[in-house]
Symmetry: D2
Subunit: 362 residues, 4 copies
């Protein structure tokens, strides 16, 4: 049967027949449901990859939303854990918004538990450069971090068992010319008061900070630092917010803390990954499979059916310069010469400020 397109137009609507109640007719279809979108990632090296955002704000500092909303966002976007990190020293809404420095954590905690989002108590120590801004995770009382000097504030956090990382080290407002590791950072580092660095914040990547993490044995951290609404800032439907992937033994606060201290993290931003070569290699291998599929006649190439089970796409370049794109969560047919299967560069997987993951195909 070939439905005549004119007839089709005739029947084209009529789907919505309201059971019209003269008093109150609900239109539920016009309201978007709140649903969780899981981010498909492989397990690697025996660890789960937990999706974490350790940097965000609410009206209790300079954000524009109520704390519970951060839990809703995280749940819908498929995150496992978040830290609300309101500034200790920057509260532009203070005239109207009160409460002590633990308020946003406490207001969000019950709801986080209901939604099964791991909520880490935290605060942002917000100082001039050096040392700039630092986030302290896993604290018990943010009020005790209100100290005259940054070092004192960080010591107070450390006394609570905190994991501390340096935020947006290359932020031009604080480091307008370049991104420098200053003597004070060295001092804090020597005292164990810097345990990680944001190599990515909001929409900025600091490649040099990746090198610092790798050479100084610090955790690679990546966060949104959201002040507004994540779904308005980022393309949540086709993309994702920036986040830290934590290689955790289990889905728990303890396992996140352990992994952070063991430097088991990957930065995940804008469909790119940055971190230790070992982790990125394992990630790629756990995500992609190549299956030979005959050869094309015109051009002398072998064809592969390439399946990627992860939410991260991959951009490959062969030594010859041929480019191959592997979209996320799908299968594509790709051409590849046998001689081109060695030393393929994965352009969107960064193992250092100037290096990418290299792979050999079987």
């Amino acid at each position: 049967m070939k439905i005549n397109s004119l007839l089709l137009l005739l029947m084209l609507f009529g789907t919505i027949c309201l059971a019209q109640d003269i008093n109150n007719t609900p239109f539920p279809g016009m309201v978007k449901p709140s649903a969780r979108k899981e981010i498909k990632l492989p397990q690697i090296l025996g660890y789960q990859l937990l999706k974490c955002d350790f940097h965000m704000h609410t009206i209790f500092s300079d954000g524009i939303v109520w704390p519970e909303f951060r839990v809703d966002e995280a749940w819908e976007e498929g995150l496992d854990a978040i830290a609300i990190t309101d500034h200790l020293e920057n509260q532009p809404s203070k005239k109207y918004v009160g409460g002590d420095h633990n308020a946003s954590y406490l207001l969000a905690l019950k709801y986080a538990n209901e939604k099964n989002i791991l909520l880490i108590q935290a605060a942002e120590i917000t100082r001039a450069m050096p040392p700039g801004h630092l986030n302290a995770l896993f604290i018990n009382d943010a009020n005790l971090l209100m100290k005259p000097t940054p070092a004192e504030a960080l010591e107070a956090a450390k006394n609570q068992g905190a994991f501390i990382f340096w935020n947006h080290p290359g932020w031009k407002a604080q480091q307008p010319d370049s991104c420098r590791w200053m003597p004070m950072h060295q001092e804090l580092y020597d005292k164990g008061l810097i345990n990680g660095i944001e190599v990515f914040n909001e929409a900025e990547y600091y490649p040099i900070a990746l090198d610092w993490c790798l050479t100084r044995n610090l955790s690679v951290i990546c966060n949104s630092d959201i002040h507004g609404i994540t779904s308005q800032m980022y393309d949540i439907e086709k993309g994702h917010r920036p986040m830290t992937l934590v290689l955790a033994r289990d889905r728990s606060l303890d396992c996140i803390r352990e992994a952070l201290k063991d430097k088991r993290t990957i930065a995940y931003f804008d469909n790119k990954l940055a971190g230790k070569e070992e982790y990125l290699k394992a990630f790629f291998e756990a995500s992609v499979t190549f299956k030979p599929n005959g050869s094309t006649n015109g051009i002398k190439r072998d064809l592969y059916m390439v399946t990627n089970i992860s939410a991260v796409p991959f951009e490959l370049v062969t030594r010859k310069g041929d480019k191959l794109f592997i979209p996320a969560e799908t299968t594509v047919e790709l051409p590849l010469n046998r001689s081109d299967c060695k030393e393929i560069t994965v352009k969107n997987l960064f193992t250092g400020s100037r290096s990418n993951l290299k792979i050999d195909l079987p």
Copy 2:
């Protein structure tokens, strides 16, 4: 030339070449721009159609966002005017959020002016049924509305020159069984303390309230009553938030006030319109043009090229029951017998609780 699909895959990426700065490489492409989306509506009867939402909340009552954010939403969604209507009597966040009842208006005003959004000072008088909740627009000082009885509060608003409308009259939390016009409503109406009624609120339509507006000469009102984020509640990209279309002589606060008092409004929700027949007829005629386009051979029908310049689609049903769908802002080819051109019902244009606009085609 026929590009070989294999070669195409070879070149498939390579677009993103970062001018990589080792200190700070921005990724602006991952951030969505803030842009205004105009809602395409015709002029009718010599008036502009202003897009207005007269009901919304912030953290100063039981909303979850800072007041300026309501301006951003309105600007991006193509609105002309908004009223922030925080509850006078319902402030669950009071423990943390201070300020008097004018705070949210004053905090949003400067930014609204910058963005050229008309901001109407307002408040929601939030009482048990009867009379339920009422919004007072065009007030000067919300604090003066804190009165023991609803009637006193409404009088205080009226003394400030307010336009007052009854919110969600059929809300089941206050009218669980039916939607009734109670003696107290009659009393308030007689005193000029009810000037309009929400026939639609959030995701609920109260058809009977449309009849009340038409028979009692009240303004038809339609609002979002948003507490969260409009873009998460409604499909803003392909649809729109509920709003009141105001037939205004000009784009100004004064003209909105004048139009509200003259009952020149249309409710616009979920791609539907509700209001006076005269207005809906003018709206349809200003939006749609029919152009004969030959006749189909198999079936004996005339073909029309039908162009709709407005953002509102139209669902037509002929006396015979044939259905015709005219999408928004586009042209479609529709079949129609000459004999079917009389008394066509426009199913999504409501002229009463049980009546739709009827049209005759030329």
Copy 3:
């Protein structure tokens, strides 16, 4: 850090820096990649669910595309098997398009093998009602089906071992008033010349045909009958084309044939399923898990975290009339009283022309 939105706009583009070659600069990013989108379905009762479309046309009858294109569509849309069923008796393009009745199959076969799409040789026997149109699958030579009477044509197909089903029994062009099982259908059925019926074709559902299948032990069939382009006809990105789900022991032509003969099929159209209760029950149970999640305070209900791993959403209605929506491939939080967990109707799963699947929750 709070990125100033003005600064952000400053950096808002700049992503696309072409390595501009004055001779030839490719813009690969403007071309959509050809990628396969898997349809996520559970395994049920020990069978794989193969996604099959057994009814489609090419320019070798009254379709508008070259046969290989049907393979591309099927591959991209996640199908496992297709049958090209060009009309034997309806070739409006005959003046320009030649070849015998096996041409479209033979032209598509090599490419189908490359893409790993199972291609079933088939033809549509296209007669007036009764018996109307019937598809013969698993034939060897379509030319031998050119016989004077429908019964002879069907016998010829049967002699080749064909599986035969009746197409769109309620199509108004052939059954304008109702959908009747005529004496000739009974005759053909008695001779084993009707083995299944399309309960759904293109955009039409024939509920009575579902009853016929269940009472007469026929295979439930569902097809697109596509003549144009599936991605232009259906919303392939958020939805799917109509298809038959085949409960197969393995992904092979033989297992499809075996399953069809054993009546192991489910119709899958517009996010709905129709078929044997046993199959639909197994489908639901393999797709959805309910996890208690505390109770809401205001209203006395239990909360459940409900996860649906399949591409099919579910619409539930309790005995009381409460409605619950479970979207595809996601988790939502749903309220449900313990007393409401029995005899829940699944509105989009049809076990008969007037019955739906009923489930009890634990």
Copy 4:
């Protein structure tokens, strides 16, 4: 009123209530309507901008669709005129598809008239390099172009009054190393047998050909050269197919022919324009308006509300290197110093192989 999100989920579906007919229940909502999407472009220099694609194929050469389908695509995508340019010398489907070289034109003509798409009779003269492939538009009989040498074929076209352009001059299959203007091209050009050049074809841009057009007074041409389905090749919803914008006095075949001969064309591909500076300047000025909007406090910049009425976005770069993005058909707020308003480069408007449009803001 704050609708409880749990209650909301309760009512979340229920919109689709089928008026279920046991014989035949149509599901019109699952079928996408065929609707025309107008491309919003300004009038410039007193001319309409007609949207034209002068290069496409059907099954009568190496395309995969029936000729009428090219009309449907064009109508839906907002085009004004098309030319079907089947290869004279390349018909891989010849074994199955017959007809002479005018067949595809004649088969599409009646339908084009119904849909009000201007259909230009045309053919692709398909030879080895030099001269490569050339399209002849506005011919009467394609069969007469079957001549031994390319020059003879082109002369035959010219004798029919054809407008002739050189296709994809930098196509690597024919010019693997560079894009050269060969002696034979000079010869044909001297004889008036080359009247335009494709500066863009399918997904390839040939910047050097833009220079040739500008210095040799040839028409700038831009086409899709589609063989498959345009909506599967390009992102039609958010983007557009490559096309030639013709500055025509009126919407007619005669006015297109006149404009082509007068070189009044602009190439439009991937949100970019290429052509004469005069035309691009007029296009920009007719599209964009800047309105001062106060100044930002933190950074010393003036703010502008910038409105773009056209479907083409603009990417600006100031002399200092600041980048400003103006999306299509919207308003954005942009920061700009007064001192930066001179010599702004419009990065996506190409006035030569190495030059962009420069503008001064008032």
